[in-house]
């Protein structure tokens, strides 16, 4: 079957989708967006977390057909998503991340050596991505995309989360490497930066 939906602000269609297929499979295997990770396919690890109509969900547990006509944001579109939000969240137009950009997306933080060239004109990271790099919250990185999407949504909802709020919001995301402390640091850092007045 064919599924039409919006991915990272742009309309897309996926063809030859099997009826029992998950959104995660469609994103990774049909749209070439491997940012959302597949670790468990049973909702346990959160590494496949995306926003579905704004709500964080495990994309491995959403049937592809259920996203018809709906909006999905993946980690590849997170930088643009965060930018649009901070500049007032205007819809459509030049906003969003094209599939080609998203497929070629790679991290270009201030700390990264890969800053030159690249396909994407969107060279910046979302604040939460930069904070993960700065706080050393990324080791093997497999859990990172899901944690970024979940953390970004937390800070959108709750700009000044307590440690308990952060733990609760990230309780559906497993990390086998970091021991979570650096991840906590990263979210605290992003929250602190977010609350600094402009230009400081």
């Amino acid at each position: 079957m064919r599924v039409n939906f919006t991915v990272n602000g742009r309309k897309q269609e996926a063809d030859d989708v099997w009826e029992g297929e998950s959104l995660l499979y469609v994103l990774r295997e049909r749209m070439g967006l491997p940012g959302s990770k597949n670790a468990c396919e049973q909702g346990e690890c959160g590494s496949c977390t995306v926003r579905l109509d704004g709500v964080p969900v495990c994309s491995c547990l959403v049937a592809a057909g259920q996203v018809e006509g709906r909006e999905v944001v993946t980690v590849e579109g997170l930088a643009d998503f965060a930018k649009n939000r901070s500049c007032g969240g205007h819809e459509g137009g030049a906003c969003g991340t094209s599939l080609q950009e998203a497929q070629g997306w790679s991290a270009k933080g201030t700390d990264s050596q890969t800053g030159e060239g690249g396909i994407s004109p969107h060279a910046t990271l979302a604040p939460i991505q930069q904070a993960f790099i700065d706080a050393g919250a990324v080791q093997c990185g497999f859990c990172t995309p899901g944690l970024l999407v979940a953390s970004d949504e937390l800070l959108e909802r709750n700009p000044n989360p307590s440690d308990a709020d952060i733990r609760e919001a990230l309780s559906g995301n497993l990390c086998r490497c970091t021991g979570y402390e650096k991840i906590m640091d990263a979210v605290r850092l992003a929250a602190a930066r977010q609350s600094e007045p402009e230009g400081v």
């Binding site: 079957m1 099997w18 009826e19 029992g20 998950s22 396919e41 049973q42 909702g43 346990e44 959160g46 977390t49 709500v55 964080p56 969900v57 495990c58 491995c60 547990l61 959403v62 049937a63 057909g65 259920q66 018809e68 979940a150 609760e168 919001a169 309780s171 559906g172 995301n173």
Partner: protein
């Protein structure tokens, strides 16, 4: 496989009548796991996400009509006052991502003895509104809904539309034993609701019998003891011997098995502990509430 996408409730009922083997999918947090792992290959998937009113709820004078697909997150955020037991239970389900998708309709559809909504539903004394194209609406009392391990009273052509829960008339509590806070299937669980209006107490036990069950003898014993001692009026602390007898009768209502999550005897023991604790918490808030109302009067 075919993917059916009814745009309205009537279309969904018609589709279910035409294809009784179709598997409804709401949040997908049970169904997709089975499909991803090839445990289930339904001929038809019947998507309920496009039926908006399944995700809505209405707070009436006496009851809350909770749409089958209202996600747990919404129950926690919006219905804590009306449905405290269910809100507490909802908060213990899995993780934020799962709670954003899964709901009570799916929990009832799966009818696992470990489903966290069940103890709260049993202790509230709710009714499940189901409907078929052929026979219309049928209200199933929750006590008649669970028939066996993962078996419920739904007919092949029926869908769950809503659950009608009495608004809490007294304190409610929920407790669950697991290895950690998030993402845990209950080893066993316990729900209690005090009903001062009828001077009754209702319970619900999860994961300690083939189906979710009530501890009816324990309920009857406690109601009689509370009545006899004038506890509802005098708001005294419940006598430890009464609490213990209640806990023992709750343990006795279990019919558990040994499995990877725990042994039968541990489950029986833990249900007794949870029964005593949740009764203590609920009674404390009842005493607090009645003390406040007396102060005002």
């Amino acid at each position: 496989m075919d993917f059916l996408r009814p745009a309205s409730w009537e279309e969904a009922l018609a589709a279910k009548a035409e294809h009784p083997t179709a598997v409804p999918i709401a949040g997908g947090t049970d169904v997709m796991v089975e499909i991803n792992f090839d445990h289930r290959r339904p001929e038809y998937l019947l998507d309920l996400n496009r039926i908006g009113d399944l995700g809505e709820w209405e707070v009436g004078e006496k009851t809350v009509r909770l749409g089958a697909s209202v996600p747990y997150t919404k129950i926690m955020e919006h219905l804590r006052g009306e449905l405290p037991g269910l809100a507490l239970a909802s908060h213990t389900v899995a993780s934020p991502q799962i709670r954003n998708r899964g709901g009570v309709g799916g929990n009832l559809g799966t009818a696992s003895p470990a489903g966290d909504a069940h103890p709260a539903l049993l202790s509230s004394g709710c009714e499940v509104e189901v409907e078929s194209a052929a026979r219309g609406v049928r209200m199933i009392p929750i006590d008649e809904f669970y028939l066996g391990v993962k078996r419920n009273a739904l007919q092949a052509d029926e869908l769950i539309r809503a659950v009608h829960l009495p608004k809490a008339d007294g304190p409610q509590q929920f407790s669950k034993v697991g290895t950690r806070n998030a993402m845990v299937i209950a080893v066993c669980a316990f729900g209690i609701a005090l009903h001062p209006e009828t001077r009754t107490v209702r319970t619900g036990i999860g994961s300690a019998a083939p189906t979710p069950v009530r501890a009816k003898e324990a309920e009857a014993f406690l109601a009689a003891a509370l009545e006899e001692g004038g506890f509802w009026e005098n708001g005294k602390i419940i006598t430890p011997s009464v609490a213990k007898q209640f806990a023992d009768l709750c343990s006795a209502a279990c019919n558990p098995i040994d499995d990877v999550r725990g042994t039968a005897s541990y489950r029986r023991h833990a249900v007794g502990i949870m029964a005593r604790r949740t009764l203590g918490w609920a009674w404390e808030s009842y005493r607090g509430q009645s003390a406040r109302t007396e102060g005002v009067a």
